[in-house]
């Protein structure tokens, strides 16, 4: 097997067995990045020299027997809102265009201790505000399945990098679906853990009560492996939770016998694409065949999640982004008259349109006279949404549904209408409001040849149930060819719009989908 096609776990086992080295793996990744970045633009910064130096050091420590873990020597990509000491961290914003952090995010430090090799920093929506990676100040990332489509967002660069084989796995952050939705659009696995599971230290804040860091990987095994490595209590994050059950790889069992799975009727209503619906219900059928008890139920309040989210997230963003003032770091305008004019001009020139839109909305909902009507109201509805989930989890182990109403939209199709873009987050956003864990994994390919994602949602601290269900489904589904061979990929991306679905993995899924139409 070519090392480029391996999962993270396979690569580290191969390195451990002495059949390849961390240095060879890093070099192979960098060559592929060099070859493909012109097409996809997954990265804001590629750190070739740094990656090779890390790889050499890690390889020595592996050979010395110091590094024995399941991620030792495996190259990864890091979303550009996670601080990396000495390495440019832009948040895909002009305002941080020259920002070199002096410290490293805790999640990244933990991976480095496990022997990870950082290839570079991935593109994202500016300050993680967006659902397509098109609000980046450094240009849009393209979906590797078809470069006319967006990779999703805001962790679009991370998802695309995994899908395009430009890293073995990546870190992302999820405030309203920003890991799960791009994972779905790019046909990879993405997980948002329970709030407080992964330290937010060094994550440039957007909506602090909603933000969580999580993995984007090629399969469920890698997802559990990375999550296990980055989860730990951290005194540097005051919302970090002490938990003892972070041995997530133990949950990789092909066993859902008796697992209670609820399908919310509210997630299958108007606006859901028929192909997505069929594919997700087919996946539920697979779990049922394996012995899960699958039922439909009414979750309620689903349509209130988005307005609640945008009120809270914008409020927190307006406060969090006050720190960008052109004094201590980042962009400062060239011409100004006095301190306040400098603040205003630096911020107005440094922030993009979507970021300004949310800062203004947030400032408004927090202003005196509107605070109770908007901000406190949203926090009250948040409590109701949490209660609706509590009631659901009294009956079910796992909630199953789509990740997004459609597969990836075309480039340029979403930005003209912000509210329409926000509606794309309808199935992911409530999970953040309620602090729950959620996982996205590929469950099909649509007629356009784009991946469809399945979402599993668990109660707080029930990642293991999610991983067990996801692993069992993955086994039933069979191989999902993440990155078709270069020739085939080019075939699918013919400029005349003719799209073939000619990958073996895709064909296999199509086939099983049709066979499985009868059971739901």
């Amino acid at each position: 097997m070519n090392i480029l096609d391996m999962t993270a776990a396979e690569l580290s086992a191969t390195i451990k067995a002495g059949r390849t080295t961390a240095v060879d793996a890093a070099r192979a990744m960098l060559e592929r990045i060099e070859e493909q970045e012109g097409m996809y633009h997954c990265y804001v910064t590629v750190d070739s020299e740094g990656a090779m130096a890390q790889a050499r050091e890690v390889q020595e420590r592996i050979e010395a027997g110091e590094l024995t873990g399941p991620l030792a020597g495996v190259p990864l990509a890091v979303k550009d809102n996670l601080c990396t000491a000495g390495l440019l961290t832009t948040c895909s914003s002009k305002i941080l265009g020259n920002f070199v952090p002096t410290y490293t995010a805790e999640a990244v430090s933990r991976l480095k201790k496990a022997g990870a090799v950082i290839l570079g920093k991935t593109n994202m929506d500016e300050f993680a505000m967006g659902s397509t990676t098109e609000t980046s100040a450094y240009g849009a990332t393209k979906n590797p399945w078809n470069t006319n489509y967006v990779p999703g967002g805001s962790s679009g660069g991370s998802a695309a990098a995994v899908a395009a084989g430009e890293c073995y796995y990546a870190l992302g952050s999820d405030t309203g679906g920003s890991i799960r939705q791009p994972a779905s659009y790019c046909g990879v696995v993405g997980m948002k853990p329970t709030y407080g599971t992964v330290s937010r230290y060094g994550l440039i804040a957007y909506g602090s009560s909603l933000d969580q860091i999580g993995p984007l990987t090629k399969d469920v095994t890698d997802c559990a492996t990375v999550l296990e490595a980055i989860s730990a209590h951290d005194s540097k994050d005051s919302t970090s939770v002490e938990r003892q059950d972070t041995d997530f790889t133990c949950a990789l069992q092909d066993d859902v016998q008796g697992m209670r799975i609820g399908i919310p009727n509210d997630y299958f209503g108007e606006g859901l694409d028929e192909e997505v619906k069929a594919s997700v219900l087919k996946a539920a059928g697979e779990l049922k065949k394996k012995g899960a008890v699958v039922e439909r139920f009414d979750l309620s309040l689903v349509e209130y999640a988005i307005p609640t989210y945008y009120t809270i997230a914008a409020a927190e963003a307006s406060s969090n982004l006050e720190r960008f003032d052109g004094i201590k770091y980042g962009y400062r305008t060239a011409d100004y008259a006095g301190l306040h004019n400098m603040y205003k001009k630096s911020r107005s020139e440094g922030f993009g349109e979507e970021v300004k839109r949310r800062i203004m909305l947030g400032s408004f909902v927090l202003s005196s006279g509107y605070y109770d009507a908007y901000y406190l109201k949203a926090l009250r509805v948040k409590a109701l949404i949490k209660k609706a989930f509590d009631e659901a989890f009294a009956k079910y182990d796992v909630i199953l549904g789509p990740v997004a109403p459609t597969t990836a939209p075309e480039l340029g199709a979403s930005l003209s209408d912000p509210i329409k873009m926000y509606l794309g987050d309808i199935y992911t956003i409530a999970v953040n409001l309620a602090g729950l864990p959620g996982i996205s994994l590929p469950c099909g390919i649509d007629q356009k040849g784009l991946p469809i994602g399945l979402q599993l949602i668990g109660d707080c601290f029930q990642e293991k149930k999610l991983l067990r269900a996801a692993y069992a489904y993955e086994r039933a589904r069979g191989a999902f060819q993440l990155r078709p061979g270069t020739d085939k990929r080019m075939e699918r991306n013919l400029p005349n719009g003719k799209q073939t679905k000619g990958t073996e993995g895709a064909e296999k899924i199509k086939q099983t989908e049709q066979e499985g139409q009868s059971h739901e």
Binding site: S235, K345, S367
Partner: protein, 100 residues
């Protein structure tokens, strides 16, 4: 559109948000914010009487630690990110006019 954002409101929001908008940007911001607020008004359909606002999903408490310095001296590295610095300090524009 039910929510009409006045010039005064957008001016005030600009002050709070420390943003300077051009005339065209102001008009766009008024329309965008009006539409968002119309959408957010949907929350008014729900009766939340007696529901406590939920800031955090879990009970979170302030976390204290001993007042001991644990980080090293990174002054030079920190200053290297500053747009302007002098004598080991950040440089900011003059805040007060010199009395004259």
């Amino acid at each position: 559109m039910a929510n009409i954002i006045s010039d005064e409101t957008i001016e005030y929001v600009g002050i709070l948000a420390k943003l300077e908008l051009s005339g065209e940007e102001k008009e766009q911001a008024k329309s965008d914010m009006g539409r968002m607020l119309d959408y957010i008004d949907k929350l008014g359909e729900l009766d939340t009487t007696g529901v406590e606002p939920m800031s955090h999903v879990f009970p979170v408490h302030n976390v204290f630690r001993e007042d001991v310095v644990t980080n090293g001296d990174t002054r030079e590295e920190l200053l290297s990110n500053a747009p302007q610095h002098k004598d080991g300090m950040f440089m900011a524009p003059r805040t007060f006019d010199t009395p004259g």
